[in-house]
Amino acid sequence: MPYNSTLVAPMRAELTRLGVKELTNAAEVDAALGDQRGSMLVFVNSVCGCAAGNARPALTLALQHSVLPQQVVTVFAGQDVEATARARQYFGEYQPSSPSMALLRDGEVVQFIHRHQIEGRSPQAIAADLTAAFDRFYAASV
């Protein structure tokens, strides 16, 4: 059952204030990810502690990097259930986890950061993984 929307609002705002676009239903997901071209990061948000203490701060740090994905979007697991399920259909054989981050290029997942690669790690360490992936996969496309 989704949490109270008032409680979740700050967790959404932590991303949207960075310019991350929220996708809240399947149609919005299809519009963003269907026939996706260029570079995109999909952040699967979550109410859990490792989203608050690790994943969202890591994304905040990573988005200060010189090389960035052209688009950054988010779905909220457990809150926007339809949107999250639809987004996961675009992740191929990567199993659902939240929080998590999918890096796409021209519709294909080029790197996936699972919850188990987030939990217990510092935001700085996770951000370093992200920025290394930005450099590796996106440097030529921006």
Binding site: C48, G49, C50, E93, Y94, Q95, P96, S97, S100, F112, H114, R115, H116, Q117, E119, G120, R121
Partner: protein
């Protein structure tokens, strides 16, 4: 392990995705919850069972979970501590 407690007030591994290897040829990968009464509780669990046949090797299963995530087969499993030979963090698997 670094000694960092991920969720203060809980066991050091609480909330961490772990690989639980046992002496009964089954390996469990899931989120460590608690240890009590001589058993470990793990959540959202995938299982590799050497006795089932036809599967990939244990090492390949663990590596696949590290790269692609854990295919969840059970919401909650209880594994007797006496059966456990090793617990490692999935995040430490290259």
């Amino acid at each position: 392990m670094t000694g960092h407690v991920f969720h203060p007030g809980h066991a050091p591994l609480h909330g961490i995705t772990v690989v639980v290897e046992t002496r009964n040829q089954r390996t469990y990968i899931g989120r460590f919850d608690t240890e009590d009464g001589g058993a470990v509780h793990i959540l959202d669990v995938g299982v590799h069972d050497l006795t089932a046949g036809g599967q990939v090797s244990k090492d390949d299963y663990i590596k696949k979970c590290a790269k692609f995530g854990v295919p969840k087969q059970h919401k909650h499993l209880i594994v007797p501590t006496a059966d456990i030979t090793r617990i490692t963090r999935l995040g430490d698997i290259e």
